[in-house]
Each structure stands twice: as structure tokens, then as C-alpha cells.
């Protein structure tokens, strides 16, 4: 990299406060850094680290209740903090572009896609309308949109999430800005798409010599893409340096912790693998079982769709899926969004009925039982859902939430239930006095612990973990995974671990099943599937794991 004397962007001692309920709350506490021309700088941090606020204050797009209380932002020699509203309009889009977090909501739903790209040119009077339209088509083509001339005339809802992000990349780069801020550009997208999008950003910006400020929560993404990495926590920069230095020789304990927690960067097993023919020592009858706990045969689930003009009448969400879950093992079910993995979980939990095929739990056909017998069977398989915010009734206290399954089966006296709740809280490493709190008073990780405690209350044999760690920050995610591994041994549980994240899967699973578009494409021992995938699709998923790319040479 040719190092220029003057950096393109210089942020000095930036402080940003949010006014919440009349009092200021600090979000960014004196941050200073530089971005040089042509450089890719990544700001890495977990939620609440102030990374997005920092990025948005550079382009002056903070929410109404945020104030830059001190510091300066110098861009190509001008102090941006002194600009008027009018002057800002000349900087945004023209000198600094923004690729947003959520591509699905970032395009005007009523405007044709081509027009939206062209607008970036016409606003700054760089081109007349007609020429701008033609440029827009070219830009869309460069961003990897096939058949751009006709796609440009379509509306955003006709594009997939990944395609919309390509449109937004084209928009951000249209006016040839010197700096592009990419704010979590791929966190809303599937892994394979994520990789294509990041490749696209890299190719286009390198070609134009555009600097990139990449905001991400994923150290793996930063490792793959950035020349320099800035690690933020609690509104401050804790570490900064070249990508190789930060990753190879982290100085700050928080960076070390982050690297250790990032599943893609430091693959490790959280627990020893369970042997395949594991004789169950926990079985109630005492006899030695070798039959699997759950057996699903040729599952099919077809949803009928509302009638659309040319659209299909029905959607086959799950198509001929057969799998089994053995006692004491963790079976991971992997797939991207829409692959049908959550539908499989719902079928196994008998929250939905399959269109055809069967599920047996410990030899009992789940389709044939109903009413009270089914309810009694439910004691033995429990579930933890993805969102710790939605899965707890906001009106219940923690104690009521955990005791709810106990109440439902009239287990013990109220006093006994209380002490059982306490024991469960201890098991998930939460303070016992949390029983009186409401979900709103707890963090995401704590809530997920409560959801786990609830799932364990009835001493089930199978726990289905439906993306149970996906909504959590990496370090919290690592803690929950460790807890799950520990509980599995303690309570001799079987897990069905549903995830889109292969990096997490390799830490915890014994066997892996890969789903794509409703079909099971591969199933086998975790090490076998992950190291020597048979199927092409599995291989794609594995190479898409961030943090796995050979370090970019810093030219």
C-alpha cells in the first residue's frame, strides 16, 4: 500500500451522546482514527460498542436524539463538523457513500431500481437524467446484476435481499466517492450471499481506489477483508493495527477474548464427541437402547400459498427428509434461510403435522397421539427458540416463566416449584434472586439462559435448539454454547441444534445434516462432513465461513 502523507479521513477525539429521557448517555467516548486513500479499515465491535454511531457521525446521519459533543472529522482537508446542511448535501453520496445494514428496507419501494441508482448522479448534477439512467444500468451490471437493462425497470420487491444489496452498492459507488462506509453490509444475508457481496464490494472499490470503512460485528469478516482493524468496546477503541498484527498478536485482553469466541477464527470443540452407538444409561426402563431417540422418515411438508398471478399454489418447505437423533448426541441441522430447517424442527416437535411421512419419538408415532397423551409426551422434548426477546412473555416474572412447564404438569407444591426454579437458575449460572425480575430487565444472553432453564425444567430427553445462539453477540454466544455443552453432559440430553452458522456447528455437534431448499443434501459425522464434504453445496457453505480466507496481501 502506498502510504500518503495526508490521510483521507481523520477522526479526532470524537464524542457522541444520545439524549435518553432528558439525560445524555454516552455512546462514543473520544475516538480517534484515520483512513488513508485506497485503504480498507474495519471497525469491529459487539452491539453497544458505538461502531455504528461512529460511522454515522462521519456522514452526519445520526438519529435526532444524538449529538456530537466534541471532536472533529476531517475529510480530504475539510472539517466536516463545520458544514452547513446545504454543504452536507454536496458531500453525501458524492464524496462519501454509504452501504447500509438492512438491504430489504433501504430502497424506496415505489421507485424503479434503476431510477434509484440514477438519482445518486442526478442529485449532484453529475449527469442529465437520461445519461444517468444509462449509467445506472452499467453500474448495476458491474455490481453483478444480470440482465441489468430490464432489471433496472423493476421495483425493489422483485429483488432478493442479496440483489438489493447489490443495487445499494451500485448506488453508493455511482458518484465515484472517495470513501465508502459499509455498515454491516451483510449481516442480514445468508453466508454464501454474504461472501459474494463482500467480494463484489472489494472488487469494485479496489478497481476505483475507493477507501472502505467496514463496520462489522464479525471478526472473521474483518480478518478476510481489511487492511487495518479497529476494535471497539463501550464507545472506545481498545485496539488498532494492521489486520495481521491485531489477529496474530492481539494486545488487549478483549481482542483476545473476541478472537477466542469467534467460531470461524478459532475452531475448537466444546465437548468430546459421543460415540455413535451410545448405550443409554439414562433410559427409564434400564434396558440398553440402541434405537434412536427420534426417527423421522420421508418427511414432507407442503404449505398452500395465497393465489398469485403466475406464482405457485403451494410451497414444499420440507421434501422427503429422513433423519434420526441418537440418544445423547448433538445433531446439527444446517441450512440457509428458507432451507426448511425450522420447519423440520416444528414437525419433530409436533407443532405442525407433516403432509406425509412420520416421526417417532422413542418408538411412539407422533402423528397418532393427540390430546392428553401428546401433552404427556411433550415433557420429554423441549425447545429453545432463536429470539430471546420474543420467546419470553413480557408480563411474566422470570420465576413464572421457568415454572410454567412445572405448573402445566402440576409438578410438586408451589414451594417445591420455587426451589426447583432456584436450582435451574443456578444450573444456567444466573443469580437466584433473578426470579422476581421481568424479561425486560435482562440482557439477551440472560434471557436465553432463562429460555434454556425453562426447557430443562421437566428434565426432557431431547432439546431442540432452533438458532438458539444466532441472535447473540459472539462473546455471549460462546458462553451459551459452553453452557449448553456442560448441561448436555450433566443432564444427559440429546440436542437437535439448528443453525445457519457452520462455524458454530463444528464446535458443538456430533453429526451434521445439511439442508438446501427443503431437501436433505448431506448427513454424516461432523468431522467427515465438515472436512470432506461430499456435496458441492456443503463445500460452498464451508468456504463461505468468514475468517477462513488466506490473508490478503497488503499491496
Amino acid at each position: 500500500m502506498s502510504s500518503h502523507a495526508e490521510p483521507l479521513l481523520k477522526v479526532e477525539n470524537l464524542r457522541v451522546d444520545y439524549v435518553v429521557d432528558g439525560s445524555p448517555r454516552n455512546a462514543v467516548a473520544g475516538v480517534s482514527f484515520e483512513v488513508r486513500a485506497g485503504e480498507v479499515v474495519a471497525i469491529v465491535g459487539e452491539s453497544g460498542s458505538g461502531k455504528t454511531t461512529t460511522a454515522h457521525s462521519i456522514i452526519n446521519l445520526l438519529p435526532g436524539n444524538a449529538r456530537v459533543s466534541s471532536g472533529s472529522v476531517t475529510f480530504a482537508g475539510t472539517d466536516l463538523t463545520q458544514l452547513t446542511r446545504k454543504e452536507w448535501q454536496g458531500v453525501r453520496g458524492k464524496d462519501i457513500g454509504l452501504i447500509p445494514q438492512d438491504p430489504t428496507a433501504s430502497l424506496d419501494p415505489l421507485q424503479r431500481v434503476g431510477e434509484q441508482v440514477a438519482e445518486a448522479l442526478t442529485i449532484h448534477r453529475l449527469q442529465p437524467r437520461k445519461a444517468a439512467r444509462q449509467s445506472a444500468v452499467r453500474l448495476l451490471e458491474e455490481s453483478g446484476i444480470r440482465d441489468a437493462p430490464s432489471r433496472a425497470r423493476q421495483f425493489p420487491h422483485q429483488f432478493s435481499g442479496g440483489m438489493r444489496q447489490r443495487v445499494l452498492i451500485a448506488t453508493a459507488l455511482a458518484a465515484q466517492p472517495k470513501l465508502v462506509i459499509a455498515d454491516e453490509p451483510t449481516s442480514a444475508l445468508d453466508v454464501t450471499v454474504q461472501r459474494q457481496i463482500l467480494d463484489n464490494i472489494a472488487a469494485l472499490t479496489t478497481e476505483r481506489g475507493t477507501s472502505v470503512l467496514l463496520i462489522t460485528h464479525d471478526l472473521g469478516v474483518a480478518a478476510d477483508r481489511a487492511d487495518r482493524i479497529i476494535v471497539m468496546r463501550g464507545g472506545e477503541i481498545v485496539e488498532e493495527g494492521s489486520a495481521t498484527a491485531v489477529l496474530g498478536d492481539p494486545q488487549h485482553s478483549y481482542t483476545q477474548q473476541l478472537i477466542a469466541a469467534a467460531p470461524g477464527l478459532s475452531p475448537r470443540r466444546l465437548r468430546p464427541s459421543v460415540s455413535v452407538q451410545n448405550p443409554s444409561a439414562t433410559a427409564d426402563s434400564g434396558t440398553v437402547h440402541v434405537s434412536p431417540l427420534v426417527e423421522a422418515t420421508s418427511l414432507r411438508k407442503v404449505f398452500s400459498l395465497p393465489r398469485t398471478a403466475g406464482g405457485a399454489r403451494s410451497l414444499t418447505a420440507v421434501d422427503d427428509v429422513s433423519l434420526d437423533i441418537r440418544r445423547g448426541e448433538t445433531l446439527a441441522l444446517v441450512g440457509e434461510s428458507g432451507s426448511g430447517k425450522s420447519t423440520v424442527a416444528r414437525l419433530l416437535l409436533r407443532l405442525d403435522k407433516p403432509t406425509s411421512g412420520s416421526v417417532t419419538f422413542d418408538g411412539v408415532d407422533l402423528a397418532s397421539v393427540r390430546g392428553e397423551r401428546l401433552r404427556q409426551l411433550r415433557r420429554r422434548f423441549q425447545v429453545v427458540f432463536q429470539s430471546p426477546y420474543a420467546s419470553l412473555d413480557p408480563r411474566f416474572s422470570v420465576e413464572d416463566i421457568i415454572a410454567e412447564p412445572l405448573r402445566a404438569f402440576a409438578e410438586g407444591t408451589p414451594a417445591e416449584r420455587k426451589s426447583r426454579v432456584k436450582a435451574l437458575l443456578e444450573e444456567v449460572h444466573l443469580p437466584v434472586d433473578y426470579g422476581t425480575r421481568r424479561p425486560a430487565e435482562l440482557s439477551g444472553g440472560q434471557r436465553q439462559r432463562i429460555a434454556i432453564a425453562r426447557a430443562l425444567a421437566l428434565k426432557p430427553e431431547l432439546v431442540v435448539l432452533d438458532e438458539a445462539v444466532s441472535a447473540l453477540d459472539v462473546s455471549v454466544q460462546a458462553q451459551i454454547l459452553t453452557l449448553l455443552a456442560e448441561l448436555q453432559v450433566q443432564e444427559s440430553l440429546s440436542y437437535l441444534f439448528i443453525s445457519h452458522d457452520l462455524a458454530v456447528v463444528q464446535q458443538i455437534s456430533d453429526r451434521v445434516a445439511v439442508m438446501q431448499a427443503g431437501k436433505l443434501v448431506e448427513i454424516g459425522e461432523a468431522t467427515a462432513v465438515l472436512e470432506n464434504p461430499v456435496e458441492d453445496y456443503t463445500r460452498q457453505l464451508i468456504t463461505a465461513i468468514p475468517g477462513r480466507q488466506p490473508q490478503r496481501s497488503l499491496t
Binding site: V383, Y389, A390, L392, D393, P394, R395, A451, L458
Partner: protein
Amino acid sequence: MTQQLVRETRSVDPAAGHSAAAPEASVPVPPAADQASVTWAGARWAGARRFLAKPGLVLSVLVLALVILWALVPQAFTQWPPDTGVPSSRLKPPSAEHWFGTDSLGRDLFSRVVHGSATSLAATAVAVAVGLVAGSALGLLAGSIRGWVDDAIMRVMDVLLAIPSLLLSLALITVLGFGTINIAIAVGIASVANFARIMRAETLRVSTAVYVEAARSSGVRWHSILLRHVLPNAAGPVLALSALEFGMAVLSISSLSFLGFGAPPPSAEWGSLVAGGRDYLVAAWWLVTLPGVVIAAVVLSTNRISHAFQDSERNRP
């Protein structure tokens, strides 16, 4: 008359409230060291402070409280009799003696407004009760049973919504006959569809919520889910609608009694007081203006309170 519209407004809104994602508050340190958030009691105190920080809301609650007191103990607020006038003091403008002035028979208008509030509020309460009970029951039935029951109930509700509620009330009055209670019932029936739609939407929203799914999958019985999860969580928006409908019922009832379908002359109801002032528009402006101000203040207050309910619903994580 505008109640359907206003209800629609709020039914559009929750989507916005829910899409605003709660900021992730997780702290990347072991849970034991996790910063303790505000305690429950503390949250309650903070709630009280937030309430006092909204002067508009405080004023609204005070207005409503005052009017309810008027209805309960009118004699505590005025020494003038509502029905017997002093012929010598006919059509006197507002003064320290007669706050709202006097009417053509020399009766004190303020006293008539205060004494009339019992009739007006009782009628409003009847109307809201009819709408709330019948509408919620239908909505709950439609939302929890689904299938053809849902279809049948909601199609009928759609038809009721297609007829402007004032017109629907008028049609009902044609059959029920005139009188305050009859117009109250008619107004109540005209609002059934609004309650049914909200209750159904809430029932559906809550019963597809992940926490209900979680309860179901851990073996909680359906009636227990309905009682412990669905009803308490659906109650908020229904309560907000009740407050809104209260204001709208005040308007509808006063409109209907203005049109002459309410109680016969000697008794005072807010709408009929305004109607009584019609013949003296030139000579005595206060006869129409001041009772109207009271009606508007009450409706404005209930709408503000309803709005506060909606806000607290939306802010609940």
C-alpha cells in the same frame, strides 16, 4: 362518527411499534457480573415520573376525574338547581355568579352541565360496555377458534363497518325507540365491530407469538395459554380502544341527542343543552359554546389517555 377511522389509525400503528427493534443490551462479560438493570419497583416509580412529565396527560386525567365527580356529586360543585330558573335572570352572560351564564328560563347553565354529566356519562358507559363486552367476546371467539367461525363473524363485522356508525345507530334507534338508554345501546352496537376487529387481531398476534409457541411446546394446556398469556397481553390494546371509544361515544351520544333522539326536554344532557341553545345563537352565544367546550374537553382527554395506553403498549419490549 370518526371512530372507525381512529381505530384504523391505531391498528396500522402496532406494526411500526414492533418493527422498531429493541436495542440489544447484552454485555460481553460473565452473567454474574452483568450490570443489574432497574428493579421492578424502581421501574414503577420511573413510570410515575414519566407520567408527571407529561402535562397534557396529567391534565387529561384531571379533566376526566372532575367530570366523573360532577356526575357522582353534582351538588358539591354548584348551589344552583338545574331545573328551576329565576325568571328575572334570563339569558345572563357568564359572570362570577353564573359561570356559564343562564338560559332562556333563567336556569344556571353550569349547574345544568354539571347535573347533566350523570346522564351523559352513564349513557357513554353503557355504550362502551355494550361494545366492549359483545365485541371482545366475538373477537376472541373468531381469533381463537378460527376456521368458519372466524369467517362468519368477521364477514358480519365487515358489513357493520361498511355502514357509517352514526347511520347504523340511527337505524337501530328507529327500532329501539328514542331515549338516552336506547341511543346508548345503539351507539354501543355500532362500535361492536371495532372491538371485535381489535380483539381478534390481538388474539391472533399473541397466539402466534413465540412465547405462546414456547408454552404450547412445553405442554401447557390451551385454556391455560388463553387465560395466562393471550388475554393479559391482548388487554392493553383493547383498553386503549375502550378509552378511545369512550370519547367517540360521548360525541355520538351528544350528536344523537342534539338531533333530538335523546331524553325529552326537562332533563339535561350535554348534547341536548347545545341543541337548546340553537334558538339563541345571536342573543346568547354561551348557551351553545360552553357545553360544547365541555364535550370537546372530555373527548380530547379520553383520546389523550387512549394515546398514552397505546404508547405504553408500544414501548413494552
